[in-house]
Symmetry: C2
Subunit: 344 residues, 2 copies
DNA sequence: GTTAGCACTCGATGGACTTGAGTGCTAACA
DNA sequence: TGTTAGCACTCAAGTCCATCGAGTGCTAAC
């Protein structure tokens, strides 16, 4: 078992070094920098074993070794050492939330920027609003022009959506207010996913004019999307890694970041409150076969789910990335708790 | 004058060819492809003159010539030939506007994508809301939680802004509605830029509770920004040009696209309804010294100003780009007119 | 089991040479 | 006087080749 432990240490050293330098690691490097008790020849033997076991690849005979995806997997699952964040970094993360501005997009943007800045990878922040488990608290119609209103929906846990709606006929503001109150009473507690049907049901029992309005609203509501915004920050970071000094590779990557569908499928992890690391082929996307994607989801008090995804080369500084994402979660919940206290 | 005309034609041929190939153009190329009546030796003499006049640069003795920024300037100002857009392209541009979805960000996104797709350059769409010349039509407070409301401001020409506001105390929805009506009456016609002050003035004459609410609103309103969203599309296009095969250059460019301040200063052209071309140093930004930026602004019915900016190498296909931007303007005003008809 | 030693591999580096696209200049021509 | 053919010259890019050095694998000795 002692031997196994040594192999393990050597593998870890190789991965650490490769993550740092992006250069194939040779036996002498390990012997000098990491395992001074052992000669390079011994390391060589071990490395040869590790290659047979599938943890190392060699680009060609006379270069060093580079970690395989299997090695990264092991590294992420078992070898990670906690990476201590600096006080500044922690403060920086906190500062993303800790502000009066409640615009979700702004917070996402700040977060994406901050995380990209600290890690030097590319960050995507997606905000989803799963409709299934959300119930309507109330709705209000606000006139903005003769035949145009904004439909505001507020759910029981406080999420707000706004949709502009064009009407067929002008309606008096006071009437709109009355209708809003009427609908709020009738629809309170209705799941958001059933809203469309409920509106139509109510429409059936109302006089023509009212019925028409309700059907217009129902039509509008139907198309409101589950996935909200996706904000990406730190794209230019990608280009600072030698693995993307090939412009064609970089272009493919950038183009993935610009394709909403692909980003959604990347960020659409099903677990919540947990951090997922996908290495190379595990991303299920050909273009990302030498990238890693780390995602973390946080469910907000108002039912929104925020997913943060970090994209970088497979030799990513997983330790730091995970620490940052953990800290993001911690700061977020600190903030939520603080808001709770405030409201109590 | 005949000579001048010939020089002119030769210069145009050189620029055209260089825009197409990105390769220094030699005298033989011109003689074969563009001016078959003239021998390469004659062209050479002319080219030498053009170099003396500052329209051409030569990378080194034995390469061809490339157009100088001065040449591009002349090209854009005088040599441009109308580039006919395909029926598909025109339909594509129309389709960006012609939809029920009124979310401004979505339209911007679609536009950015469409223009990038057609031109193969990078497109930024900025939406500004100049507050000076806008007057309030009415406002409304919509409750979303115990102590949280959304402040909705509608201007006389129909622009809508929404800001979430945290209150110090819970307020009954019916009271909020009454307050909204009261404030709308008092503030109707007040310029948006004076809104802050007006709210404070009104607050002075009201009982404590009301006064407090008004001051909270005033505080919130104060920070609403002039520049709205900036949406960028087609970043990966940049990497398809040989001028950015140097990763470092590409990184600088990408990083400009990610810096909101720089983008604002790029897109903040003062003219409206006109198209501006800035070539290399004319952009006033070191990072863009071998890029060109073409911007066009369109004032919308509701007072918003949309600025579209195209970024590409200085050897940009100016003809096509200008045609596309002209078509965008045409489609936009078609749409506005159609809406007018509809509302009549 | 560990290590020193040595032959071998193979990409990277750099110099010498060749190639070819292009220029500038001169002299002849219409 | 403008145009052109011809020719010497320039210079980046490509090819070939030798060298270098980091690295491996294997063997034999400790």
């Amino acid at each position: 078992m002692e031997l196994l432990d040594r192999k393990y240490r050597i593998l870890q050293a190789i991965i650490d070094d490769y993550i740092l330098t992006a250069l194939p690691v040779g036996s002498r490097t390990i012997s000098r920098k990491y395992e001074q008790k052992l000669s390079s020849a011994t390391i060589r033997n071990e490395m040869s074993d590790l290659e047979d076991l599938g943890y190392l690849d060699s680009p060609h005979t006379s270069a060093g070794r580079i970690p395989s995806n299997k090695a990264y997997r092991l590294y992420v699952d078992q070898m990670l050492q906690p990476f201590p964040l600096s006080v500044e970094d922690i403060a920086y993360i906190r500062s993303c939330f800790d502000t009066r501005s409640h615009q979700i997009e702004q917070i996402s943007m700040r977060l994406a920027r901050a995380i990209s800045g600290m890690t030097n990878y590319t960050t995507a922040v997606m905000t989803r609003m799963p409709r299934d488990d959300q119930k309507l608290s109330h709705m209000q119609l606000v006139p903005v022009a003769d035949r145009r209103v904004i439909l505001i929906l507020v759910t029981e846990n406080g999420a707000v959506t706004q949709t502009p709606v064009d009407l067929d006929a002008a309606i008096d503001p006071d009437v709109l207010y009355t209708v809003s109150k009427f609908l709020s009473k009738r629809l309170e507690g209705v799941p958001m996913s059933k809203l469309h049907q409920s509106l139509i049901d109510i429409a059936a029992g109302e006089p023509e004019e009212m019925s028409k309005l309700l059907r217009t609203l129902a039509a509008q509501d139907d198309e409101s999307p589950d996935v909200g915004s996706i904000v990406v920050g730190g794209r230019s970071n990608l280009l600072s890694y030698p693995e993307y000094s090939d412009v064609e590779k970089a272009r493919n990557l950038l183009s993935v970041l610009e394709t909403k569908d692909k980003m959604i499928s990347l960020l659409n992890t099903h677990g919540e409150m947990e951090i997922t690391v996908r290495i190379g082929p595990e991303t299920g996307m050909e273009e990302l076969k030498d990238c890693s994607v780390v995602t973390a989801s946080y469910r907000m008090r108002d039912g929104r789910v925020n997913t943060i995804g970090l994209i970088g080369p497979t030799r990513m500084q997983y330790g730091k990335v995970l620490s940052v994402l953990n800290q993001v979660g911690r700061s977020l919940y600190e903030l939520l708790d603080a808001q709770d206290d405030e409201q109590r």
